[in-house]
Each structure stands twice: as C-alpha cells, then as structure tokens.
Symmetry: C2
Subunit: 255 residues, 2 copies
C-alpha cells in the first residue's frame, strides 16, 4: 500500500485524487488546499485540511499547485526527510526545499477538471535524486495504469516546450481554421475528421513522412491563391511562416 | 445501380475505386489513366483504358486527376451532356468544359495510397449546377457511408485553405515537436497521447474553449524560459507568432 497526501485542488490534483481513490494499493491519507471550499465536495471521502502544520504522515507528498507556489510551499512543510514531489513540466527539482527528499511526477497530458482522463493515456515523466524514490514513484504511476519514463530536468523542460507546440499552438491552428471557415459560412465541423486523422497518422508514422500539401510540393499557384483568400494579415503571416517552415524541412528552401 | 467511370490513378482515384468496388449499388464500368501501368494491378477487376476516345457510357465520370489537368481533360472528353465531376478542393466548377453537366465531389480528408481510409470519416462536399445531379452525387456518397454537405465554390476554397492550417501546418508543429525533443534526446513518443487528446478535445468543444497554456494565461516567465530554450531562430519566430496569435484571440493583446 502506498500512502499519499495531495496538496492543491486544481485540475491535476483533482484527477490524481479521483484515480488514486479508486486504485486498490494507493490510499490518499489527506488532501490539503489553502482554501477549503474547493475540497468541500470531497470531505466525506478523504480527510481535508488547510493547515500545513496539520499534515499527516505518508509515503509521498504531491505538490500539485501552481508552478510559482511550489518552492514556497516546499519550504513551509513541517517535516523533513520525506519524499516530496511536484507535478510541473518546467520547475527544476532543485527549486524545492532540500530538507526533504525531492522528486517530480510530471503527467504529460492536458487536464481540465470537467474532462475525464484515462490515465493509460498519460505518460508520467519521473525524476528523483534517489534511486529508491524513483522505484516508488514508478510503482505509483504503474498502479494507476500510466506508462512511465525516467526524464531529467533538461529533458522535461524540452518536453514541456514541445507540448506547447503540439497542444497549444496546434489548437490555435484549429481556432484559425474555425475563423476562416465561419467567415464564409462554411462549417468547421467538416474539418473535424481531418483533424483527428492528422493526429492519428503520426501515432505510427513520423511527422516528416506524414507531410503532404501545397507547401511540401512547393505548389506556387495554390499558395498564391490561399494568400489571396486570407483577409486577416495575422493569418497571412502565419501561413507564410509555416509554409516556409515546411519548405525548409523538405528541402524546398534554404535558410 | 449507379455506374461510374474513374479517371486518374492516384491517391484519391485508388481509394474511390476500392470503396466503389465493394459497394453493392455502385458499379465501376471503366478506369482510365494516361499511363496504364498504374492500373495493371486492377485489370482483372475492372475494364481499364488509356484512351479517352474509348470511354464507355456511365452515370458519372469522376476526374480524380491533378488540379492542373482537370480543365484540359474535361475538354478532351468525347461526349456531351453527361455528368462530369472533379474531386479538387480548389478548382472552380466552371473551369471544366461546359459541354457536359458539371459537378464537384470534394472528399475533405487526407489520402495516401498506403493508408487505409474509412469513408464514414470522409465528409464529401458536393457542388453541382443542376439539382438532379446533386441528388445523384449525394446518393453516391451516402452509398459509401460518407456524410455529405452542399458546398459552393467559395466555401470549398475556404475549406481547402482551412484544411492546410489544421492538417499540413499542424503536422509541421508535430515535426517541430519532434526536432525539439530529439535535440535533448527526450522521446517524441511521449507526446503522442497529448497530440491525440488535443485533436479529440475539439471534436466536442470549440478550439476557443479548449485553449490552455502559457500564452493564454500570458505567463511571461514561462514564455521567456521557452524562448531561451529554443536554439533554432526559425522555431523562435514560430513560437512568438503563435503566442501572439493566442494572446490576440484571448484578449491578452491588441493588434
Ligand atoms: N493542467 C494541466 O494540464 C497540467 C498538466 C501537467 C502538469 N501541470 C502542472 O501541475 C501543477 C498544477 O496545475 P493545475 O492545472 O492543477 O493548476 P490549477 O488548476 O491552476 O490549480 C492550482 C492549485 O494551486 C493552488 N495554489 C496556487 N497558488 C498557491 C499558493 N501560493 N499557496 C498554496 N496553494 C496555491 C491553488 O489553490 P486555490 O484553489 O486556493 O486557488 C490550486 O489548488 C502545475 O505545476 C502545472 O504546471 C498541469
Ligand atoms: N490526396 C489527397 O489527400 C486529396 C484530398 C482531397 C482532394 N484531392 C484532389 O483529388 C485530385 C487527385 O489527387 P491525388 O492526390 O489522387 O493525385 P495524385 O496521387 O498525384 O494522382 C494524380 C493523377 O492525375 C493524373 N494526371 C496528372 N496530370 C495529368 C494529365 N495532364 N493528364 C492526365 N492525367 C494526369 C496522374 O496520372 P499518372 O499516374 O500518369 O501520373 C495520376 O493518375 C486532385 O484534384 C486533388 O486536389 C486530393
């Protein structure tokens, strides 16, 4: 049995609580948040507190709080030599107070409270300073069905950066697709199967191999047509920059 | 029974042949390509030809050839008053020779010969000049299980343009994610579930609502960290432009 205390009550903390709570060999001994209201809903299933001094004994303390609060809270913990981990993609392991054993449990997925999460689709990137702690965190992750990977702070930062490209920036391209289609009262819905297929394709093929379209073919006529259709200068700029990027990648253009 | 002649032997033509051939109420009467070699493999299942003058009678002639060849081939057809359609996202319906009844059957999906296609995930955008032809094309599309939508030439052009954003440009962001992770020997594979989740999210939620991350929050510290991690100036430019785009969309910045 692995015993856990969760700190924070946001997107990540809430999904972790839910999955831990239904996992046989994990017990959530306590749930802390500075503001008890967010925990009210769960007070019948777990001991809740807003007092760091009242934290109970456990194998792992998970700081699922905002990046900026991690260092500070780690310093306020009223014990030492315990395993304390954060869940951030971009906070260094050494930013936490060294009075405790430190680790990172970074779930490489996008969480919102409302959307259900299947933890078998959440790769968990683990970093620790101590080998024994690594094995314990790995066991925790495997218990909830997540694939795990040992990842150091530099690799984790780069994964977090790459996640911004494939998640936030990609989503913004969907948004632009939405704006462009609505402007001609065409339906964005028609693009949804293509969006899904594009994501599925790179599950088994490199993005390099999966590329198609006018930029890769350097089809000047279509590119010119597209630019003349785009009324928004900002969209034009994005069209030009990503077209150049594809040309560079596929040897149609030199830097 | 709907009878069809296919012209062209590329990605689209090949997938159309395969699905028509296994659909009960559709018969492919003949398959034309200027170069017979590409059709050789199919010569036992369908009549093949490389001679436009030898085209046989059918309800629909589908020009699944390169955009630039559509007008030319439509002019060379040795008959008139037949229904002739092309499959392109960006060629005008009026670019085809008016001696025949004209239409468009634009499959809004990405096709490559090797990858299997489920036509229930291929929305087919239909345009015709004549109402009766519209109903026939709709019946053809429904027979292979595809959703259909009546779309005029302006809407189709805009859908084709939006498809470049959500397919080619998105795929290039995946490519950049690949380059960035490899540069730190982190694994691109770890990003694959996130890529899929990002695409799934907008199936039921607008991209506007689905957005998260440092640009939307205007989290200056993380943005600065990310820019300092990016060594490639071209990647930096893309990071800045898409970050600005998200800020504009979410009211964090004005044009
Ligand atoms: N969301 C994701 O998709 C995702 C994915 C991977 C990793 N992460 C990482 O996981 C961590 C949590 O993210 P999240 O999305 O769950 O955040 P969130 O939903 O914004 O929740 C943040 C939590 O931190 C608490 N908090 C903030 N400042 C605090 C302070 N000074 N003292 C004490 N508590 C404080 C908040 O308390 P109140 O309730 O009182 O405001 C809240 O419970 C972050 O490190 C994030 O980088 C997030
Ligand atoms: N691929 C997609 O994802 C996709 C999606 C939606 C719509 N479309 C549209 O579908 C059409 C076909 O695309 P595709 O990807 O199937 O193309 P493709 O694989 O490049 O095949 C093009 C076909 O056109 C023939 N062709 C080219 N120039 C010709 C000419 N001057 N005279 C006669 N035949 C000629 C080629 O003949 P040879 O075999 O002799 O070279 C080949 O059979 C295009 O209008 C395209 O815009 C494509």
């Amino acid at each position: 049995m692995i015993s856990v205390v969760i700190l924070g009550a946001g997107n990540v903390a809430t999904h972790l609580f839910r999955v831990f709570n239904k996992t046989e060999n994990i017990t959530v001994k306590q749930w802390f948040n500075r503001n008890l209201k967010s925990l009210d809903h769960f007070k019948n299933s777990v001991a809740i507190t807003n007092d760091l001094a009242a934290l109970t004994d456990a194998d792992i303390y998970i700081l699922a709080v905002s990046d900026d609060a991690i260092a500070d809270i780690s310093g306020q913990l009223p014990f030492k030599n315990k395993l304390v981990v954060h869940t951030s993609g971009c906070v260094n392991i050494h930013d936490m107070d060294k009075k405790n054993r430190r680790g990172v449990l970074y779930p490489l997925q996008t969480f919102s409270k409302a959307a259900p999460i299947d933890f078998s689709n959440v790769p968990i990137c683990i970093e620790t300073l101590d080998k024994k702690d690594y094995l314990l965190l790995k066991q925790l992750a495997l218990s909830i069905g997540s694939p795990t990977k040992r990842v150091n702070s530099d690799q984790r930062k780069v994964l977090h950066l790459a996640a911004v490209f494939v998640n936030n920036f990609t989503n913004q391209l969907y948004r632009i697709g939405h704006e462009i289609t609505e402007s001609e009262s065409a339906e964005f819905d028609l693009l949804k199967p293509l969006i899904l297929e594009t994501a599925k394709k790179v599950q088994n093929m490199s993005p390099y191999m999966a590329q198609t379209g006018p930029a890769k073919r350097d089809d000047k006529k279509t590119i010119k047509n597209h630019l003349s259709l785009l009324e928004n200068n900002h969209h034009k700029e994005i069209y030009n920059l990503l077209t150049d990027s594809i040309k560079l990648t596929h040897g149609r253009k030199k830097l």
